[in-house]
């Protein structure tokens, strides 16, 4: 073919002639042969094969991940939006594409822009899973020193980093959590648009949250003009902000630049979840304490002009009583320290609560937990919201001779890894106060005890997500402790019976809360309901109303959000 330019390197020839003239510098026959064998080993004689799979030995990519990487390379030509639902392995897909380009010499330098909380995790995954020598960007001088950098988008877009980034060419740019680029008027969007790049991968589980412009802006970052000019796009594909028209054509255009794997596609096998509610009956003394605190809270709320914040902390107290005496004690102690300081004697109200607290000698919940753990016999991860409860549980397990490890969000990375390893190898139980970041994978465990319940469904999802994820080979059992006739029972019945939260796929709740505009405020809203209610009946009623609202969005996606239909 005439038009393909050929560049033949000849720079070596003078060196060769030097060897001849000086009769030195020759290699041995063995060295010569080794060089040829090395070159043969690195040669890839086919354009489209995903040859990097040969080098990936530390894990096995799933079929949908391999297929996605192949499509990105062979059909989308290295510029794509990876929009899998949460938990299907977008990072793996991006890693496969990256590795393949690197092995072929098509990518030598690359930039990965992520939220700052994910910088280390990305760096670690690229190094460990793909053996790509990525470095976490920390200082400005590092831009000139390293070829493969993982950096926080918020840092990189600011000087002095911005200038350095824009002065470079990147063979590959990856942006994680790319929904942060949905608005083209933002600094984020403009910055990424300005970066000089050959290949580009945008990763997001929610390419469209509200309106179609968001999708347009993402696609435009990859390929300006792919969806036409803004005005064409509006007139061709948008009937109103949230409703597409010419849907079929639009979907076809989008499929050329975006891949979205879904759990419901069927090709991805997830095991089942079994949800068990474990009712707990309070002893007489425990019941008296709970009632005492409930009365105390109602009384305070009705009598006092307290700030909402203070009031909400009272609800926390009520939740803590359901968790353990220890947790409640600490909060009560602090509360009294603040309110009763300077007084010679405790107010009779408080005196009464302290007395009730002292009376409690049994702990119904931990007894149940221990017998359940003994019954299960396998590894169990037990979640609680409170540090004091965590410590109490660890003591109780130790007294029973059940090996257990603690886990907290505040642990250093090494300590987290270490605790996970001990849990895997030696302990039966992990007692955790927090689900931990994405890097916490506990697929070897298939029993979760929710000792008490977070009121934020996203946090429940995170708990489950640690265990019920790709790679889990068994069905997962979830045991929810429910202290009867307390707010714990009401909240659980809302989450479990009304919303069916525990059977929802990961990511679904997020979408629902976003639509309700409650992603940040759900917990507060629920606590307010409890606070404002006259009695338990009203709490149940209002929880039930809230549940119906969620159910409605879940079952019948609102007309208003038709924009997501194009995905």
């Amino acid at each position: 073919m005439q038009s393909v330019p050929i560049k033949i390197d000849r720079t070596w020839f003078s060196t060769f002639q030097n060897c001849m003239n000086q009769d030195s510098g020759w290699a041995t026959w063995e060295q010569f042969q080794l060089a040829i064998e090395a070159a043969e080993a690195q040669t890839i004689t086919d354009f489209s094969e995903l040859s990097c799979l040969r080098y990936i030995t530390d894990f096995t990519p799933l079929p949908h991940q391999i297929k996605t990487a192949q499509r990105v390379i062979n059909e989308m030509r290295g510029r794509a939006i990876l929009a899998d639902e949460v938990g299907l392995g977008k990072t793996i897909e991006a890693g496969l594409v990256f590795k393949e380009y690197m092995d072929r010499g098509l990518v030598q330098n690359a930039l990965i822009l992520v939220p700052s909380s994910l910088v280390l995790q990305w760096t670690r995954e690229l190094n460990q899973k793909f053996r790509i020598p990525a470095v976490a960007q920390k200082k400005a001088w590092m831009w000139d020193k390293h070829n493969i950098l993982v950096a926080s988008l918020d840092t990189a877009k600011r000087d002095p980093h911005r200038e350095k980034v824009l002065a470079k060419h990147f063979d590959l740019l990856i942006v994680d959590e790319a929904h942060k680029l949905k608005n083209r008027r933002t600094k984020n969007w403009q910055f990424v648009n300005e970066i000089r790049k050959k290949y580009c991968l945008l990763l997001t589980a929610t390419p469209v949250q509200n309106n179609l412009d968001e999708l347009y802006n993402l696609v435009t970052l990859l390929k300006p003009g792919h969806l036409g000019r803004p005005s064409n796009f509006q007139s061709t594909y948008v009937s109103d902000k949230r409703t597409p028209k010419n849907e079929k054509e639009l979907r076809a255009e989008i499929e050329r630049v975006m891949i979205r794997n879904r759990r419901s596609d069927g090709q991805i096998a997830f095991t089942k979840r079994h949800v068990h509610t474990v009712p707990i009956q309070l002893s007489k003394e425990e019941r008296q304490l709970y009632d005492g605190i409930t009365q105390f809270i109602r009384h305070r709320y009705q009598s006092g002009p307290g700030s909402v914040k203070n009031m909400l902390s009272l609800i926390i107290l009520q939740r803590e009583v359901c968790s353990s005496r220890d947790a409640a004690f600490l909060t009560l102690f602090k509360l009294f320290q603040r309110n009763e300081q300077g007084k010679k004697q405790l107010s009779p109200e408080v005196e009464h609560l302290v007395q009730l607290l002292r009376n409690v000698k049994t702990n119904s919940k931990i007894e149940k937990a221990i017998s359940l753990i003994k019954e299960i016999k396998e590894k169990v991860i037990l979640f609680t919201e409170y540090r004091a409860t965590q410590e109490m549980i660890l003591r109780a397990l130790a007294a029973e001779g059940i090996p257990a490890v603690p886990f907290r969000g505040g642990f250093q990375r090494n300590k987290k890894d270490w605790m996970m390893e001990i849990f895997q190898k030696r302990a039966q139980v992990m007692v955790a106060t927090e689900a931990g970041g994405e890097g916490i994978n506990l697929q070897f465990c298939r029993h979760i005890i929710n000792y008490d319940m977070p009121w934020n469904p996203m946090r429940i999802e995170q708990r489950i997500g640690r265990v019920h994820r790709l790679g889990q080979k068994h069905d997962v059992n979830i045991y929810n402790f429910s202290t009867q006739d307390t707010i714990e029972e009401y909240i659980l019945s809302l989450l479990h019976e009304k919303i069916d939260m525990f059977r929802m796929v990961i990511g679904e709740m997020e979408t629902i809360l976003e639509r309700l505009n409650m992603k940040e405020s759900i917990e507060r809203n629920l606590m307010k309901i409890v606070l404002e209610a006259k009695d338990d009946e009203e709490i149940k009623e209002r929880f039930s109303e809230f549940g119906s609202m969620v159910q409605e969005i879940k079952d019948r996606p609102n007309e208003k959000f038709r924009s997501q239909d194009v995905l």
């Binding site: 060295q31 060089a35 090395a38 080993a41």
Partner: protein
Amino acid sequence: MDAIRVHRFAERYFSANDCQIIERSPHHLKVKLSVKVDKELINRPFYWMYVEKMNLQPNPTTLNLISKPEKAPEGFNGEFLSFGTPRFRQILQSAINQGRFIRLYEDKTPETNNPNNSSPYTPWFGVNYKLSYICDQKKDELLSLGINLYDGQIKSNFYPQIKQRIWTPKIPAHRHIIRPRFQLIECLGKLENFIEEHIKKQDSTWAREAKKRLDQELKQVSLYYPEGESETGTEAEKKQRIQEIYWQYHPRIEVDIINAGLFYLDPR
């Protein structure tokens, strides 16, 4: 390459490059590097600068390598060596660096024992080329060519044909070289012509397709950023995007060599 071949290659590489193998099994290696290999595998230029400036006794690194962790001896701590690891990549790269140019004589006893007779060698110039076909994707092709410096004949698959022969780096007694009729540089030109002809015979669909994609994208860009209008972006932005498109799709072929050598073949 599987674990066994990786291991065997590494072992041969270290031996061929003057490293001292201290301990070995089919699954692990303990090796004291030579200075040359240390410089290529262990990134510590300042150390070498210091040693050489101060004229100190160099102390090259000892590497512990394991190609099959489950079979390595108990208590042997080392780095895992597999095809995908950065270390093995370095080894491959270094092997290529170290085996570039060669001059060899075929080691074959002449037919006659008459000490007054001298048998001739035919001079060949062998070059191992790597052709890379590049657009947004890439494939490679290895081409081993040899050219007879006496009559200009070109052979493809040259290396496989001479691989089994026995070689020596010094010209043996009672042998002489047939005087080349072609200069080396001339022959290089002939080889390059041969490569161009070879490329012409290849299927070029890939390049046409890439060109099509390139034109398509350029068209899209010119529609997106019309002349003298800035609703969608500036001239600079448009120019950058056009550069990116060429960078990504532009079909081209790059020809590099792996290594080359002069081979004096016994004509029989």
